[in-house]
């Protein structure tokens, strides 16, 4: 065997070991590295009231209510499997609206309601001009169709 081949085998073996170590680390991180809890994670894993977390999902259409004081809003967050009520006092980002994604920072109170101290709007991977707004979008084929 030539020295060149020895080095190649050594380098490839080292590479496989590094990739294996990386994959193991990443799979161990799986839940810890998640940026937010989805409502279904909250339901299945259980989050203690008062524990600071981030809650992420879609704002349920028709659930957004503005309180009389003008800064407090109530809304429901869903991931399609579970829905959680949430409340927030303050200035919401421009892109925060019903039917779009949100990441809320805060904690659950004893009644199971999420009290947010900060709201972030989560943008999805869709980009389109205004004329196409209101069309229906197929997540798997990326096809746009005129709404019926």
């Amino acid at each position: 065997m030539k020295a060149k081949h020895q080095r190649l085998i050594l380098a490839l073996a080292a590479l496989v070991a590094i990739i294996g170590a990386g994959l193991l680390a990443v799979s161990a991180l799986k839940d810890e590295a998640a940026y937010f809890y989805a409502p279904n994670d909250v339901k299945t894993k259980g989050v203690k009231p008062g524990k600071a977390i981030r809650l992420g999902g879609m704002v349920v259409k028709g659930s957004l209510k503005r309180a009389a004081d003008g800064v407090t809003i109530d809304f429901n967050v869903t991931d399609g499997k579970a829905t959680v009520p949430a409340t927030f006092s303050g200035i919401a980002p421009d892109l925060f609206k019903e039917g779009s994604g949100v990441v809320a920072e805060g904690a659950f109170d004893r009644q199971g309601r999420f009290v947010a101290t900060n709201l972030l709007a989560k943008h999805d991977e869709r980009y389109m001009p205004r004329e196409l707004d209101g069309m229906t979008y197929n997540e798997t084929t990326h096809e746009m169709k005129a709404a019926p």
Partner: protein
């Protein structure tokens, strides 16, 4: 590849190639930026902030492609002892770090109006920041372990480049593996969820910045080879 192991033969090709990459690259990216600024419509949700896309995406691609290049040249240096691979590794590091920084900055500027925050520690942003630190570490290690008269990176730096490559698939998959604030991939094997009317300038800037990057790498490789020559000649002179 070993045909180009001879620096003289490499330079004979690299010298004219630099111009052929540089000028079309600049032309394409200027055309892409101009059409991205003036010709494409605003996004239905983000409005005009969507236009940062035409810089942000090429910068992210080149930051990651740069490290892939560092890893490949590291492998070629360690296994085949290719003399130009070490030079290529050093030449890629600085522009790679620069484009990674541009990606982070444009992302931050876009994040403030879109998400409502300059910075969040989500998977995509954190792994991209790690890439910037890897670049800075690579440059520091290459400078710290450099030997007199050798412009290329040392073997230990090449190993560092190979090990750091594990971060590249992590960056790419971070938005799929973990819940993240950063949106999922828009352009996949199945198609693009960016409408065609917004997408086409991205092709121009992607291609333009890539050509520019390649031209910068060639220029830096030529500069390093020229520096080697100067140092060798100086040594001969002092020995007299």
């Amino acid at each position: 590849m070993h045909r180009f192991a001879n620096p003289a033969r490499f330079l004979k090709i690299a010298r004219p190639l630099t111009g052929w990459l540089l000028w079309p690259g600049i032309l394409l990216l200027l055309a892409g930026c101009a059409s991205g600024l003036f010709l494409t419509p605003a996004d239905y949700l983000q409005g005009n902030t969507v236009r940062i896309l035409y810089i942000h995406v090429p910068a992210a691609w080149l930051g990651m492609a740069g490290w892939t290049g560092i890893a490949v040249s590291g492998l070629m240096q360690l296994v085949w002892r290719h003399p130009l691979a070490a030079v290529a590794g050093r030449a890629i590091a600085a522009p790679g770090a620069l484009f990674t920084a541009i990606c982070l900055m444009t992302g931050s500027i876009w994040g403030r109006p879109t998400w409502g925050t300059w910075w969040e520690w989500d998977g995509r942003m954190t792994s991209m920041l790690v890439l910037l630190f890897l670049y800075l570490g690579y440059i520091a290690l290459a400078n710290g372990s450099a030997r007199q008269g050798q412009g290329g990176v040392s073997p230990v730096t090449a190993i560092f480049g190979l090990v750091g490559a594990i971060n590249i698939p992590i960056i790419n998959r971070s938005v799929v593996w973990w819940n993240s604030l950063h949106q999922g991939p828009s352009i996949t094997m199945r198609g693009s969820s960016i409408d065609g009317s917004l997408l086409w300038p991205l092709g121009l800037t992607l291609f333009g910045f890539t050509l520019l990057f390649a031209a910068i790498v060639l220029m830096r490789m030529r500069a390093i080879l020229a520096q080697n020559k100067v140092e060798a000649r100086m040594q001969r002179l002092t020995r007299g």
